[in-house]
Amino acid sequence: MVKVAIYPPNSLILADLIERKGHTPLVLQKQIRQKIKDPEIDSPPMNITEEDPIKGLKYAAIEVPSGVRGRMSIIGPLIDDAEAAIIVDGAPFGFGCIGCARTNELSIFLLRNKGIPVLEVNYPTNQDETYVMVNEINEFIDSLEEKSQEE
């Protein structure tokens, strides 16, 4: 089983296609669940704590706005765990859950530079493009299976 990071990290289609093949998608919802089930965080627990920007320092420098560092404290561990990644390019405005263009850029940069297999697919707008996207993702996941078997 390979842990596959997806971008946007809350994508239904990407996560579902990976799970169908028996792999684990690294989705943001799992991180959020950990955060809201942590009894040490005061209510309302989705608020950022003073620890979060400090954790985010691992991924972004001190000069980087605290919003980016706060977001990276949640997304960063997913990037650390990733053994492969699928990124959607050319998506319409508002696609994804991050709400911060710089965090998106930084996360995609970190995934590309990690030295793991990365697949970049174009956001489909019609049926043929969707066929291409689904085929590319399935081929990529199958190639991961072959690699893990070789190892």
């Binding site: 946007p8 239904l12 996560a15 943001l28 089930k37 859950c97 489909p124 043929d128 689904v134 085929n135």
Partner: protein, 156 residues
């Protein structure tokens, strides 16, 4: 809108259990099962789950192994059109549930966007085939010049 900002939920024992997970079951366009059929099927499985009927499908919450077992069974009804997704908050959590707050639920917009291509994805999963897409290229400089000159001449 202050209701949206400072909700201090009274959480039950299950809400704090890290082993309890929530998943959304989303039916793609053209699904051969309905939302209520899915919910009925979940009940018939007899697993200790919290099941909620929603407009897009359903939402189930329970111990990890029970949830994955239920999803495996429910997918058999229509493998190509049933999609599932993780959810951080439990069903009816006042910080997300629209019964307790205003405006669309967080995550709704992403689902709305993805729903527009979900039908195509289901079709691609059901009848896989090779497809090629012509890559769109910008107009060449010479052609652009030609069109520009033509339109300028026509103007005069």
């Amino acid at each position: 809108m202050s209701e949206n900002l400072c909700i201090s939920p009274k959480l039950g024992k299950e809400d704090w259990d890290p082993d309890v997970i929530t998943r959304m079951i989303i039916l793609g366009p053209g699904a051969r099962v309905s939302e209520s059929e899915i919910v009925g099927e979940f009940h018939m499985l007899g697993l200790p789950l919290t099941i909620k009927n929603t407009c897009y499908g359903s939402m189930i919450s329970g111990k990890k192994e029970d949830v994955y077992k239920a999803i495996k069974e429910i997918r058999k009804l229509d493998p190509a059109h049933i999609f599932t997704k993780e959810r951080g908050f439990a069903p009816g959590d006042p910080r997300r549930c629209r019964g307790h707050r205003f405006g669309p639920r967080e995550g709704f917009h992403q689902m709305e966007k993805e729903y527009t291509i979900l039908g195509y994805v289901a079709e691609a999963l059901e009848n896989p085939k090779e497809a090629t897409v012509e890559e769109k290229k910008p107009v060449s400089v010479d052609e652009f010049k030609k069109i520009m000159n033509e339109s300028l001449e026509n103007k005069e």
